[in-house]
C-alpha cells in the first residue's frame, strides 16, 4: 500500500494537499489499522495527494491530558507542532475523534494552527467536490445504526457528516434511543481505554452495545477506533458476532466501492 511520508514528500520538494494524522490506535492497534488502510484506499480512489508523518508522528497527548497530565500533553503538543510547522502543514485529516479534537481545539493556542477534519467530514467534501462517489447498491437495505463518538459529537457537534455518508450507502439507518447529543459514551474516553473501570455493576461498553442491539442492526457503524474496540468487545460479550459486525464508516465505504 502506497502511503507516502512527509519526509519523502519533502525530499521530492512536494507539498501534499492534506496530512493524514493516523494516531496511535490507527498505527498500532490491529483492528484500527484496518480502518487506516480503508481510509487510505478511499484517499487513493479520490486521487487525494496526501502524506503521513510516519515515524515522526507521536501521541497527540489527548490521553495524557484527559488523565490529568497537562505537562506531558503539552510536551507532546509542542513536539508535534514543531514537526507539523516544520513541514508547513495547513490541512489535517484523521480517523480518530480524539486527535481531531485536540489538534483542532487545543493545539492552536500552543502555536499549532491547522484546518482539521474528521475523516467523515473529509470524505463528505470529496463527494461534494465530485472526486468520490459512494456505491449505494452493495450494502443496500442493510440495517445500520451509528454510534456517535463523544469527541466528534458532543465535543465538536459533528453529527451530520457520518450520517450523511451512511445514508449514501443506501442502507437503512436506524437511530438508537440515545443518539447525537444524548448518545452514551462507549466507555473508552477520558483515558479509560488504558485502565480497568472503577467498581460498578456493569461495563459501559456493554450498556452501549445493548442500546445498539435494541435497533436490531446488522452493522454498527462507528467513526472512532476506540469506540470500535469497545463496541466490538461488547458484541463478543453478547455473543452476537455472527449477526452483527462493527465497522468504521471508512471501511463500509471502502467495501461498498470494492476498494
Amino acid at each position: 500500500m502506497n502511503v507516502p511520508t512527509m519526509a519523502d514528500m519533502m525530499a521530492q520538494g512536494k507539498q501534499p494537499e492534506v496530512l493524514f494524522w493516523v494516531g496511535a490506535a490507527g498505527s498500532y492497534d490491529d483492528r484500527a489499522k484496518k480502518i487506516s488502510r480503508a481510509f487510505v484506499k478511499i484517499l487513493h480512489a479520490a486521487n487525494v495527494d496526501f502524506a503521513v508523518l510516519g515515524t515522526e508522528e507521536s501521541s497527540s497527548g489527548d490521553a495524557a491530558k484527559r488523565a490529568g497530565n497537562e505537562f506531558l500533553f503539552q510536551m507532546q503538543a509542542f513536539m508535534n507542532i514543531e514537526v507539523l510547522n516544520g513541514y508547513q502543514i495547513k490541512k489535517i485529516v484523521t480517523c480518530d475523534p480524539h486527535s481531531f479534537n485536540t489538534l483542532k481545539n487545543e493545539y492552536p493556542s500552543l502555536g499549532g494552527k491547522y484546518e482539521v477534519f474528521h475523516h467523515t467530514q473529509f470524505i463528505q467534501n470529496l463527494i461534494s467536490e465530485g472526486r468520490l462517489e459512494i456505491d449505494n447498491t452493495s450494502l443496500k437495505g442493510k440495517r445500520v445504526t451509528f454510534h456517535d463518538p463523544c469527541y466528534l459529537g458532543r465535543a465538536n457537534e459533528v453529527y451530520e457528516s457520518p450520517r450523511d455518508l451512511i445514508r449514501r450507502l443506501g442502507v437503512n439507518l436506524t437511530e438508537m434511543k440515545r443518539h447525537k447529543g444524548t448518545a452514551l459514551c462507549c466507555g473508552a474516553g477520558g483515558a479509560q481505554m488504558f485502565k480497568d473501570a472503577e467498581r460498578g455493576n456493569k461495563e459501559i461498553n456493554i450498556l452501549r452495545t445493548e442500546d445498539a442491539l435494541e435497533t436490531k442492526p446488522q452493522i454498527i457503524a462507528t467513526g472512532c477506533p476506540y469506540c470500535n474496540t469497545m463496541m466490538t468487545d461488547g458484541i463478543k460479550f453478547k455473543e452476537k458476532e455472527s449477526e452483527v459486525v462493527v465497522k468504521d464508516i471508512a471501511e463500509l465505504i471502502s467495501e461498498a466501492n470494492g476498494l
Binding site: 502511503v3 511520508t5 510516519g54 508522528e57 501521541s59 497530565n69 505537562f71 483542532k104 458532543r154
Partner: protein, 438 residues
C-alpha cells in the same frame, strides 16, 4: 388612624430584604474565592445564551413532561410576583387593592384572573412534581446523594409553593367585595362557597390572615433560597451568561505549564540560571484543584446554581453503570465545601482558618474522579450550563501533577507516551508498519 400594621409591615419588609441582601453578599464573597477566569468575551452570544437557556428554558424542554411542568411553575412564579408589588404597596400604605382604580375594574379583573389561573396551574404542577419525587420511581430522585437534607429541601420547596398558591386563592376567595364584583375571580369563586357559613367579620379575618401569611411566606421563601438548591431561580441567569462558549471538547491549556514546557524544550535555556523573583512565584503555582479556592469563580457559581435535578447523573455513563461517580454529587459536594469554607470565614472574622479539610478526599474521592470518561454528557444535559466535567478534570490534574497519584495502568500509559510516543509499548520506528501489512 392606626398605623401599627403599616409600620409592622415596613419592618418585616426591611428585615426580610435586609437579611436576604446580607446573605447574597456572603454568596458573592464565597464565589469570589475562586480563581479568575475571563468570561467577558463575546457579550452578544452570552446574552443570547442567557435569553435562550435561562429565560427561554430551551434546555428544560429536552425532557418534555418535566420541562412543561417547570415552564408552568416558572411563568407562574414570574407573573404572580407582579401581584406581590401591589401587596407591598398595600401593606406600606394601608390600602386595599391599590392598583384597581388605576387599572380599571375590567383590566384589573383580567390580571387577577390570569394570576388565579396560573396559581391553580402552578399548584397542580407542584403536586405532580411532588408525586414524581416521592411516589413515581424516578431513578434520579432516588440516588444516594438525594437522601437527608437534599430530599427534604426538594419537598420543602414544593410545600412552600403549594401553601403560597393556596393562600393567594384563599385571600381572593375571602375578599367579599372582590367576590361580589365577580370580575377576575375565575378560580377563587369555587373556593369562596367554603366560607359562606362564616360571619362577615370572620371571613374578613381569614382574608387578612391569608394576606399576611402570604406576604410573610414570600419573605421567608426569599430567605430560604440562600440555604436551598432553589437558588437556581436567581443564579441560572448569571450562570448561563458566564457559561463556556468554546467547543465542549476543548479543555483549557494551562499557561503555567506552557512556560515550564517551553523552558524544558528550549535548547538555549540555562538550567542553572538564577530565576528572577517573578518567575519564582509562577513556578510555585499549584497545578489543578484540591480545594474550592483552586477552582475558578465560574465553577463555584456553577456549584451554587445547581438545583440537583440530576439530569446530568441520569445521562452519565459512569453513574448508569453503578460507579461511585455522579456529576450532580460533584456539584453538591463542591457547594457544601464552599459553604463550609464560607462559615469558617464568618467565624474567624473574615479570614479562612485552616480546618485540615479539603474538597479532595474529604468530599470527593479519587475513585469518583477516575470513573469519568470525559464524555460531556453531563455538560450537555445541564439545563443551566453547569460544567461538572471541568471540576473533575481540574481535580485529576491535581492528583497527577501534584501527587503523582494516577492509577497504575495510567502511569504505565503515560510512561509509554513519554518513552515511545504512544500509549502502548510499541516502538516508534514501527509506527508506519500498518501500511505494509495490507
Amino acid at each position: 388612624m392606626n398605623y401599627i400594621s403599616n409600620v409592622l409591615f415596613g419592618v418585616l419588609l426591611i428585615i426580610g430584604i435586609g437579611f436576604f441582601v446580607n446573605n447574597i453578599q456572603k454568596l458573592f464573597r464565597n464565589i469570589k474565592l475562586g480563581k479568575s477566569i475571563n468570561r467577558n468575551d463575546n457579550k452578544l452570544q452570552r446574552f443570547k445564551n442567557m435569553a435562550m437557556i435561562a429565560l427561554g428554558q430551551s434546555k428544560m424542554v429536552k425532557r418534555p413532561f418535566s420541562g412543561f411542568l417547570h415552564i408552568i411553575v416558572y411563568i407562574g412564579f414570574v407573573i404572580i410576583n407582579i401581584e406581590v408589588l401591589e401587596i407591598v404597596v398595600d401593606g406600606l400604605l394601608g390600602t386595599h387593592r391599590v392598583f384597581q382604580p388605576y387599572l380599571g375594574d375590567a383590566f384589573y379583573g383580567f390580571l387577577i384572573g390570569v394570576f388565579e389561573v396560573l396559581a391553580a396551574l402552578v399548584f397542580i404542577a407542584v403536586v405532580l412534581f411532588w408525586l414524581r419525587r416521592n411516589v413515581a420511581n424516578i431513578k434520579r430522585f432516588l440516588s444516594k446523594e438525594m437522601t437527608g437534607w437534599p430530599k427534604r429541601d426538594g419537598n420543602l420547596i414544593l410545600y412552600f409553593e403549594m401553601v403560597l398558591m393556596s393562600l393567594f386563592i384563599i385571600m381572593n376567595a375571602t375578599d367579599t367585595a372582590f367576590q361580589e364584583a365577580g370580575v377576575g375571580n375565575i378560580v377563587s369563586q369555587f373556593v369562596a362557597p367554603f366560607f359562606e357559613g362564616y360571619a362577615p367579620e370572620t371571613i374578613h379575618t381569614i382574608e387578612r390572615a391569608a394576606w399576611w401569611i402570604h406576604i410573610i411566606g414570600i419573605l421567608v421563601f426569599l430567605n430560604y433560597l440562600f440555604y436551598s438548591k432553589h437558588l437556581h431561580i436567581l443564579l441560572a441567569f448569571p450562570n448561563t451568561y458566564f457559561g463556556n462558549l468554546k467547543p465542549k471538547g476543548q479543555f483549557p491549556n494551562s499557561e503555567a505549564v506552557s512556560k515550564e514546557v517551553q523552558l524544558v524544550m528550549d535548547p538555549s535555556a540555562d538550567p542553572y540560571a538564577i530565576p528572577d523573583e517573578s518567575a519564582e512565584e509562577e513556578v510555585s503555582e499549584k497545578f489543578g484543584a484540591s480545594d474550592v479556592a483552586d477552582l475558578s469563580w465560574v465553577q463555584l457559581l456553577n456549584a451554587y446554581t445547581c438545583t440537583e435535578c440530576g439530569r446530568c447523573t441520569s445521562a452519565c455513563p459512569a453513574s448508569l453503570t453503578g460507579k461511585e461517580l455522579s456529576p450532580r454529587s460533584i456539584m453538591m459536594k463542591t457547594r457544601d465545601r464552599l459553604e463550609e469554607v464560607g462559615r469558617n470565614i464568618d467565624q474567624n472574622k473574615g479570614t479562612f482558618k485552616d480546618d485540615g479539610k479539603q474538597l479532595l478526599n474529604d468530599y470527593i474521592s479519587p475513585e469518583e474522579l477516575w470513573a469519568c470518561t470525559s464524555c460531556n454528557a453531563c455538560v450537555e444535559e445541564c439545563p443551566v450550563s453547569i460544567d461538572p466535567l471541568s471540576i473533575i478534570m481540574d481535580m485529576r490534574k491535581y492528583l497527577v501533577m501534584e501527587q503523582s497519584a494516577a492509577p497504575q495502568e495510567l502511569n504505565m500509559m503515560m510512561t509509554n507516551i513519554e518513552n515511545n510516543g504512544a500509549p502502548w509499548q510499541y516502538n516508534q520506528q514501527d509506527r508506519l508498519n500498518w501500511a505494509k501489512e495490507a
